[in-house]
């Protein structure tokens, strides 16, 4: 039981560390952002607290030292420096290490850890000698714990500040105090000006105004009192709690306008009853009747609005709560939904042939529900791609520091959602691409300046939806790819013939071949020639495509196109004899009919002419060895595979088919041309084609055939 909790703790701690790193990197740019500092402190505090709860004493002691420093940062006693951020980042790495090291949870700190702790202590020592009045870390920690306790008690307060007329006589200016109030939380201030006389009767140095303030804060009543502490003896200050989470939980709606006014003593109960007996809007009536000043109504309205907003905010926070579910459970859910979809389409078929109105009705309902269930289940697996992006920020920062380069990583579309498995498998390729950009793409600041570019390089990482797929691009403003170097290298490695004529795209595609690296020297970062082909392999396995474009001295852009999910596919169902196949819809361009006479005219070659353009085609019948007489007319599904138009010849195009992909099982692993299968309504299996592989193996068969023919004719 404990192990399960511990596992949850480790997961959460890792999440916190990731957030922590994000915040640290942000802090480097916005070193005075109190919100960031606060979130860093809270993350450390939580790691420490729950760590010691689960017996990670070493981790707790270690984290405490860092937390101490951030508490001081929070209170303004220590400023954010590069050293601080650097040490904290390495501390994060150590914490991560301690989380995985389950054996040694309460031993002594390692040398590296001690060094980090010493570093933090030195930082603190320096500030102490500078500012003798700075609070001792221990005292501050206690304070912080009180604060975080209070965090849960966010309340809305009503404050009425009634200054005595002589408030201004000692030069008091209230505006800074109001500004301070705004700093405590969301705050609505209304000045009540009804007592201000005409100019002739005005004593310019007296205060005629009083204030109604509605404030929503988690800092407690005393914090509000503290704001007005210097004017306390010249003001009447009334503070009351008007709304809180507990009150809301009691199910009470907030007070009506009239009730607020009565509660504040601005209106008598009798007057309210009088007004309410008329069927009009309360505010209008009350002022029309001259019973009450507009200012009072205004402040009451503001109060209502503030409470409403605070309640809405709490509601959204509650809605945003999440639960953790192991991925396997999700996978089995998806699998079951897949089965359900299959059974449902069988039901529909049976219902259609039964001619029973009652069964048809039920079948339709089941169909609708199943579709909704399927969509919902799929959306559970969708995760914003930002989680993959955030790791890369750290990578760019560390690498560029190591290489003495200045690089900014800009990300766009982090909210773009993708299937969880796609994101997981996208991590490695993205790391490779970013490493390449940092190492080979972006030059040193000196070189960049000499080339007339800003000394800081930029890597742009963006994601967006395009149809049923997601496009992820990594682009840098570095030196770009050199076509000639790539060509020479490819010739040297025997990848292309010396006299081969290649288009720009084809040359760039060479980079994706195994063992290809043009780096002059092999560095730690990249350049072993394992990067790009790994990327290519990973993206291929995701059914995605990769495209490179580059301009020398301007930069390189790598575009990945990935399917939204690997669990479901939008395809075109086709039939050859009695076999069914699914062709992925994303690569289909059109469907055309092919007559037997056309085939004969091409003298046996698998080529046809479509609107004047020669298009080669693959005969599924031959590829899958289906023996059955040809039909008089067949259909060709024209697809685009790796940039070329290729036809897939079938007997019949059945129609569009959205289906849950089922794996074929390991006995069929060696079959490349098929990525999985789908089960049709009547229980028939339809194979899902991997078009690139289908075309490749057809080309191979054709070439072998051609050689045989040649050999035979000699």
């Amino acid at each position: 039981m404990l192990d399960q909790h511990r596992e949850t703790f480790i997961q959460e701690a890792n999440d916190l560390l990731r957030e922590l790193e994000e915040s640290l990197l942000d802090l480097e740019e916005k070193s005075t952002d109190q919100e960031l500092i606060g979130s860093i402190f809270r993350a450390l505090h939580t790691i420490k607290g729950s760590g010691s709860m689960f017996g990670y004493d070493k981790l707790a002691t270690f984290t405490h030292e860092i937390e101490t420093a951030y508490d001081l940062v929070r209170s303004g006693g220590l400023s954010v420096t590069r050293i601080l951020v650097d040490s904290t980042l390495s501390a994060c790495d150590e914490i991560r290490g301690m989380l995985t090291d389950d054996e040694d949870r309460s031993g002594a700190l390692s040398d590296a850890q001690t060094a980090i702790v010493e570093g933090f202590r030195n930082l603190l020592k320096n500030t102490h000698s500078d500012k003798p009045s700075a609070p001792t870390p221990d005292a501050v920690v206690v304070d912080a714990e009180v604060n975080s306790d209070e965090l849960q008690h966010e309340c809305t307060y009503r404050v009425r500040l009634t200054p005595s007329p002589d408030l201004f006589s000692n030069g008091t200016n209230l505006l800074p105090l109001f500004e301070e109030m705004q700093g405590l939380g969301t705050c609505r201030i209304t000045a009540q000006v009804e007592n201000i006389p005409r100019l002739q009767e005005l004593d310019p140095e007296a205060c005629y105004t009083f204030w109604d303030i509605a404030i929503n804060t988690d800092r407690g009543q005393n914090a509000i009192r503290d704001v007005f502490i210097f004017v306390e003896d010249r003001c009447r200050l009334e503070i009351s709690v008007i709304d809180s989470m507990e009150r809301e939980a009691d199910g009470k709606g907030y007070l009506k306008l009239g009730e607020i006014l009565v509660q504040r003593g601005d209106l008598s109960k009798d007057n309210m009853q009088d007004i309410l007996s008329q069927q009009h809007r309360f505010g209008e009536l009350a002022t029309e009747a001259g019973i009450i000043d507009h200012g009072k109504i205004e402040s009451a309205l503001q109060e209502q609005q503030l409470v409403r907003e605070a309640r809405d905010k709490r509601a959204t926070v509650e809605q945003a709560s999440t639960i953790r579910v192991p991925a396997e459970r999700l996978d089995s859910l998806i699998n079951m939904v897949g089965e359900l979809v299959t059974v449902q389409s069988r039901l529909t078929q049976v219902a259609n042939s039964s001619h029973s109105q009652a069964i048809l009705q039920v079948a339709e309902d089941v169909e609708r529900l199943t579709a909704e269930l399927r969509d919902n289940t799929m959306s559970i697996r969708m995760v914003p791609i930002g989680s993959a992006f955030s790791r890369l920020r750290r990578l760019v920062r560390d690498l560029s520091q190591e290489l003495g380069k200045e690089i900014d990583l800009l990300t766009e579309g982090a909210e773009t959602e993708l299937d969880k498995t796609v994101i997981e498998r996208l991590n490695d390729p993205l790391v490779h691409l970013i490493r390449n950009s940092v190492d080979h793409g972006i030059q040193n600041p000196q070189v960049r300046t000499a080339a007339g570019k800003p000394s800081r390089g930029t890597i742009r990482l963006s994601a967006c939806h395009s149809g049923a797929s997601v496009q992820v691009t990594v682009s840098d403003d570095g030196q770009g790819l050199d076509l000639e170097t790539i060509r020479l290298k490819a010739i040297e490695k025997g990848l292309i013939a010396p006299d081969a004529l290649l288009s720009e795209r084809e040359v760039f595609a060479l980079v994706l071949l195994p063992g290809f690296s043009t780096a002059q020297k092999v560095t730690n970062v990249s350049g072993r020639g394992v990067g790009m082909d790994v990327v290519k392999k990973n993206i291929d396995s995701l059914q995605g495509t990769i495209e490179i474009s580059s301009k020398q001295n301007i930069g390189t852009t790598i575009t990945l196109k990935l399917p939204l999910t690997l669990a479901i596919i939008d395809g075109l169902l086709v039939r050859v004899a009695n076999e069914f196949f699914v062709v992925p819809l994303t690569s289909i361009e059109e469907c055309v009919e092919l007559k037997l006479s056309d085939v004969k005219r091409a003298s046996g070659q698998h080529i046809t002419v479509i609107r004047g353009e020669l298009v080669p085609y693959v005969r599924l019948r031959e590829l899958f060895g289906i023996d059955e007489a040809l039909q008089a007319a067949e259909q060709i599904v024209i697809t685009r595979v790796e940039g070329n138009r290729v036809g897939i010849m079938v007997d019949e195009v059945v129609g569009q088919h959205q289906t849950v992909i089922k794996p074929l099982g390991r006995y069929y692993k060696h079959i490349n041309e098929v990525t999985g299968c789908s089960i049709l309504g009547d229980g028939t299996i339809a194979l899902i084609l991997d078009l690139a592989k289908v075309v490749k193996s057809a080309a191979r068969a054709e070439a072998a055939n051609y050689e045989n023919v040649q050999a035979g004719s000699v």
Partner: protein, 115 residues
């Protein structure tokens, strides 16, 4: 700091400048009162050059406006400076509805949507 005497008194327009705070409250109330008395129907306060204001000045504005209403004059403020608007907002003088003593949309503190 500029004094009111340095401000432009042109037709029915009075321009005030500088820090309009409690230390000048008496002086400001007196000069505005006198100027307002000289105007016949229309009085315009130009507050573009105000660099600071506090509650005492906002009270003076409100009082002057109340006087003008009583005397059947129209007092309005043109191009209030950013600092003045900030003071108004911070001190909670902004109104969505005109105050009871004002008629129509003459209230100095009424915030019009979109402005």
């Amino acid at each position: 700091m500029q004094s009111v005497e340095n401000g432009l008194k042109q037709n029915s327009r009075l321009a005030l400048a500088g820090e309009l705070t409690i230390s000048r409250a008496s002086e400001l109330a007196a000069s505005i009162g006198q100027w307002l008395a000289e105007q016949e129907t229309v009085a315009v306060l130009d507050l573009a050059a105000v660099t600071a204001a506090d509650v005492s000045f906002l009270q003076i504005l409100c009082a002057a406006h109340r006087s003008s209403l009583r005397e059947g004059k129209s007092l309005s403020v043109v191009s209030p400076s950013r600092e003045l608007l900030r003071a108004m907002k911070t001190a909670g003088f902004e109104r969505r509805q005109p105050c009871t003593q004002c008629t129509g949309d003459t209230c100095l503190w009424q915030v019009k949507e979109g402005l």
